[in-house]
């Protein structure tokens, strides 16, 4: 499965990819485009990325998690391009023999992804305006 996609993220497929009879606990984190009251009327976000580095860096982040939790099966995917409000932009899925490891590895991967992935977002508003969002 590619770490970077321009299509909608299929979380069920990611979960199936890590599943296996020996790993009883699966934790998934899915980050979606938010457009609630505190965000203003955002209709979509255009995600752009430094794609070659995004793929390599997400691979390194996943590799670090696999090294720290050798029994865990870890995958993740970041979507680029226009993502409508409510749709996932990133998913991290970890299956492990026990839930402690699954929660810990999933958390580490999403934190590192937020901190390190070369991705930028431009918010699109109902009135047609756009804005770079730097968090």
């Amino acid at each position: 499965m590619d770490y970077c996609t321009h299509e909608p993220i299929d979380v069920g497929r990611l979960m199936a990819a890590v599943a296996d009879g020996a790993r009883g606990g699966t934790v998934a984190f899915v980050g979606s485009v938010r457009g609630g009251p505190e965000d203003g009327p955002v209709t979509a976000i255009d995600y752009s990325g430094y794609e070659e580095m995004l793929t390599e860096e997400l691979g390194r982040i996943i590799g670090e998690a696999r090294e720290r939790w050798p029994e865990a099966s870890v995958t993740a995917q970041h979507r680029l391009g226009r993502v409508p409000r409510g749709e996932p932009s990133i998913a991290v899925v970890v299956a492990a023999p026990h839930r402690d490891e699954a929660f810990a590895a999933c958390r580490q991967v999403i934190e590192e992804a937020k901190r390190r992935l070369p991705v930028w977002k431009k918010e699109l508003f109902e009135n047609g305006a756009t804005r770079w969002r730097e968090e």
Binding site: M53, E57, S89, I90, K114, L117, V119
Partner: protein, 95 residues
């Protein structure tokens, strides 16, 4: 013995790196790639100073931008090598 890349150097004692700009930086600079010639002892920080001195609209690039060399996050003190891909990254907003 000389490094084998020497033949590609534009001038003796200099190196050329490929600068890449993304997102807001690319938008404001109006470009996403730029070859840059630097002294062969140059660091990432030296490249930043050279770009801020010569590029139009270069104040979009902060004094201490995030940078990656060959697709890996790199400190401003990191040494550059001829042929490196040097990317300048606006504040990250992935996820």
């Amino acid at each position: 013995m000389q490094p084998s890349g020497d033949q590609l150097r534009s001038t003796a004692g200099t190196i050329t790196v490929e600068c890449r700009f993304f997102a807001r930086y690319a938008e404001i600079l109006g470009r996403d790639v730029l070859p840059l010639e630097l002294p062969e002892t140059a660091t990432v920080g030296d490249a930043v100073r050279e770009l801020r001195r010569t590029l139009p609209a270069s104040d979009v690039l902060p004094e201490r931008p995030l940078a990656a060399v060959n697709r890996q996050h790199t400190a401003l003190t990191g040494r550059l090598t001829h042929g490196d891909e040097l990317a300048f990254l606006p504040p990250l907003a992935g996820g």
